[in-house]
Every structure is written in C-alpha cells, then in structure tokens.
C-alpha cells in the first residue's frame, strides 16, 4: 500500500465513508464491510480494530452472553449425546442396547446443521429439542430446509423484535430470541424473518443492503431474502452470475430456516419458544 497523498476530493470522500466504520468500532457496534473499499482500507480496518480492541479488551464479556452461550453449548452437547444414544440411521435399535457411553461421535458441522441438530449450534434450544423428540424417523430435513416446518415446537409465543418504523423497505434488523437468532427483513414491503445462521458452518450472516442478501463472512455464501442460496452454481448457470459476487459459491446449501413472522400495530413479531 502506498503512503502517498491522494486526489484531495477522493480522500475526503473516502475518509468520510471510512469514518462510519470507525464510528461503529468506537461505539462498540458491529462495523459494516460496506464501508470498506479495497485492500488498503481493509488493512486499515484491521489496525483500527486492534486499536479499539486493545483498550477495551480488559472488559469481561456480557454475563448474559456468557449464560446464553453456556445454554447453547449444553444443548449442542445434549444433541450429540442423544445421537450417540440413538443412532440416527438405525431406528430399530433395540431398547436397552448398550452403546459405548464415553466415545464421542464425531459429526461434521454440516451434518449437524442439515440434520437439525445444528439448530443447537445456531438456532439453539427449541429446534434441538424438536430434533431429539422426533427421533430418527421424523423428517428432520425440513427443520432447516424450509418455512413449512415450525422452527420451534410446542409452547411458542410471539416476541416483538422491532417496529415497522425501524424496518423501512430494503432494510433488515437483526434480532435475538432465547431460542434462535435471525433477521427480519423488509423486502419491498413484505416482511419476512430469516435465520441468521449460515447452513454451511453456522457462522452469523451479515445483511448487505446493497445486494439485498445475507452474506456469510466465513466462506462467502449469500442467501437471498427468501432464504435460498443466491450465489450458488445452479443460479449462476441460469442467470449468468450473481451481481453481488464475483464467483459462484461452490457447493449447494440448504435454505435458511424461516421463523413465522407477523406485523401488528406497527410492531414486528416472530414466533419463538421458551427454552
């Protein structure tokens, strides 16, 4: 990167845009990669993050976060344990069959996510309970695959997550319930709720307002606002590419889970569960 004077007008505009990124850091918010242009600025962003991080790194994490993550770990561990006790591919296993109790089954994150247990990793407790309750014969594939299967079973309730005033067309608001995390999006007037958990490895998706998609920061999958993979190879063939990306995402991924959503009296609710 060259440390040289630039075109003054260009520099003023760049400094102004970059300041939005810095403001987020200084205020301890999540910065948007949209405010970063090019390799030089990405490196500057890294340096800024270190500067911001060094001064606050003594702070302990939010106790609520620590407890929430503890619950997610327990649920994930319980999910793996329940698979260990009831192998998913032999539903007729005799009751009472002894299964080695200490050997941990190794499952890929993808297998977990696609089998519904991944809910434990990302969507947390409710959905996991569903997968465990239904046992091996239930169509767990729908759990993360579409909107028809409820994300959380049983004792659900509507939780207010934002207001319509805060959700203008083209915007998205990230929310967190006890049972799962997601976005509510306003896609040209239609409000939808989507899981914020990538179905690849469970990373948290980022909303990109310029592309109207949910982008995975880990490996670059983009999901459209219906929850379908937007930059996969299949669509690449149909439409000749994806505007928000330079190259196709190499593998097919299940669609994002879609919690039920409703709008009433200017408030946006999602259907969630106690955990």
């Amino acid at each position: 990167m060259a440390d040289r004077p630039r075109d003054p007008q260009h520099e003023i505009e760049a400094a102004d845009r970059f300041d939005r990124y810095l403001d987020a850091l200084v205020e301890d918010r999540r910065p948007s990669p949209e405010d970063i242009t090019g390799t030089d600025e990405a490196r500057m962003a890294g340096t800024a993050a270190e500067l911001a991080g060094a001064t606050a790194a003594r702070d302990a994490p939010d106790p609520a976060f620590v407890e929430q993550l503890r619950r997610r770990m327990r649920q994930a561990d319980a999910g793996i344990a329940s698979l260990r006790e009831r192998p998913p591919f032999s539903p007729d296993a005799t009751v009472g069959t002894t299964v080695p109790a200490v050997r941990r089954i190794r499952l890929s994150r993808r297998a977990l996510l696609q089998g519904g247990i991944g809910a434990a990793a990302g969507l947390a407790a409710g959905a996991l309970g569903m997968a465990a309750l239904r046992g091996p014969t239930a169509p767990t594939g729908g759990g993360l695959n579409g909107g028809s299967v409820p994300l959380v079973p049983g004792e659900g309730f509507w939780q207010a997550v934002t207001t319509t005033a805060d959700l203008p067309a083209g915007s998205a608001v990230r929310f967190s319930t006890a049972a799962f995390d997601g976005y509510v999006v306003n896609d040209g007037g239609e409000v939808r709720a989507l899981s914020s958990v990538c179905t690849h490895m469970g990373c948290t998706l980022q909303y990109r307002p310029n592309w109207h998609d949910l982008r995975c920061p880990c490996h670059g999958a983009s999901f459209d606002l219906h929850g379908e993979l937007a930059n996969g190879r299949d669509r690449w063939g149909e439409s000749g590419g994806y505007a928000g990306d330079a190259q196709a995402y190499p593998i097919a991924l299940p669609a994002l889970a879609k919690p039920k959503v409703k709008v009433a009296d200017g408030t946006v609710y999602v259907w969630t569960a106690q955990v």
Binding site: F18, V26, D28, P33, T47
Partner: protein
C-alpha cells in the same frame, strides 16, 4: 419448555460427566478467549459471534480427555482460525498470519502461527503493548488523533474540538493516520 400430554416430554439436558467437563473448560476459558478475540476484532458483537463459534466447535470436535495445556492450545488455535476467517472472508483478503492453518480445527503441529504459549495466559497484554508500540512510531498529530478516537473513545466532533481542527480535517487526519499505521504494521510483520 413445558411438556404437554400429547407430546413426549422434552429430552432433559443430561447432567453427565461430558457436560460437566465442557462447562469446566468453558468456565475456565470463556473470558480469556473472549478478550483474546476482542483485542483482534475490536467490537463486542463480532467478538461474541466468534467466541460462540469457538466454543460450539469445542462441543463438536474437542477431545476433552486431553490435558489442560492441549485444550488451551486447541482453543487458541481455533480462535485464531476464526479470527483469520472473519477478516479474510469479511474483507476478502488475508489479514492474519493464521490463515495458512488448514481448516478442520485439528491442531496442526507443523503450523504454529502467531500465538505462542506466551500469548495465552494474558492474551490482552501483547495486544496492548503492540498497540502502544505502534502508536509511538507515528508522527505526533497522527498519534494524537488515534489516541483521542480509540483510547479516549471520543467522537469525531469531540476529537476535532480537542485538536482545534474541523471535523472534516479530523476525518482525513485519522484516515491518513490509520493508513500510516497499517503500513507500519505490515512492515513490522515482514
């Protein structure tokens, strides 16, 4: 969640040795791991997300029968990978030296990236001293603007007022200061 007669009761969370061991590891390491990550991403939401990734990967893949030193080493290595992935994929470039570590979250003994055991017990200390050293190498006005913004955590308007310059100038100054600082960091890393 409450059970209802028409459904089997919810599977209780087991209280066995596996969970106990994970919680032990979690309790011992969640704070230092969070701080380690925070020092490298600089904001709470990203630090929380990456911390969650690390511990959920631990549930999935960490062999809890290993000794404490190996578990600590595993946690920091996975943290480095998560941070590297975060920067690389979010901003589409390799920013962190850990990016040569192969995915799969298994300790690769041959690949020993930036963190050493010295980095582990008090992970926030090296980050702070690195930042102090970096600031010391900058020209006065560059150092000042970054200190006001990031150490004092002042707004651009407050920073501009402190320095007696316009807000526009403060933005340009911090932009140039970060460009210089990133350049220095790059050369320091080799």
């Amino acid at each position: 969640m409450a059970s209802r007669p028409d459904r089997p009761p919810a599977t209780p969370v087991p209280d066995g040795p596996v969970r106990g061991r994970f919680e032990e590891i979690y309790d011992a390491h969640v704070v230092p791991i969070y701080r380690y990550i925070y020092a490298r991403v600089g904001n709470r939401p990203d630090a929380e997300d990456l911390t969650a990734q690390v511990f959920l990967r631990a549930v999935e893949a960490l062999d809890t029968t290993r000794d404490d030193a190996q578990i600590v080493s595993w946690l920091y290595r996975v943290s480095q990978n998560a941070i590297a992935d975060h920067w690389r994929a979010f901003y589409r470039l390799p920013l962190v030296a850990a990016d040569q570590v192969a995915p799969g979250w298994e300790p690769a003994d041959s690949a020993e990236p930036m963190a050493t055991t010295a980095d582990e017990p008090e992970a926030d200390l090296p980050a702070r001293s690195r930042v102090t050293a970096l600031l010391a190498r900058l020209p006065e006005n560059y150092r000042r603007v970054l200190e006001l913004r990031f150490i004092e955590r002042l707004s651009v308007a407050e920073t501009a007022e402190q320095m007696g310059i316009s807000r526009g100038n403060a933005k340009v100054l911090q932009y140039r200061a970060l460009r210089r600082a990133a350049l220095l960091e790059g050369s320091a890393d080799g």
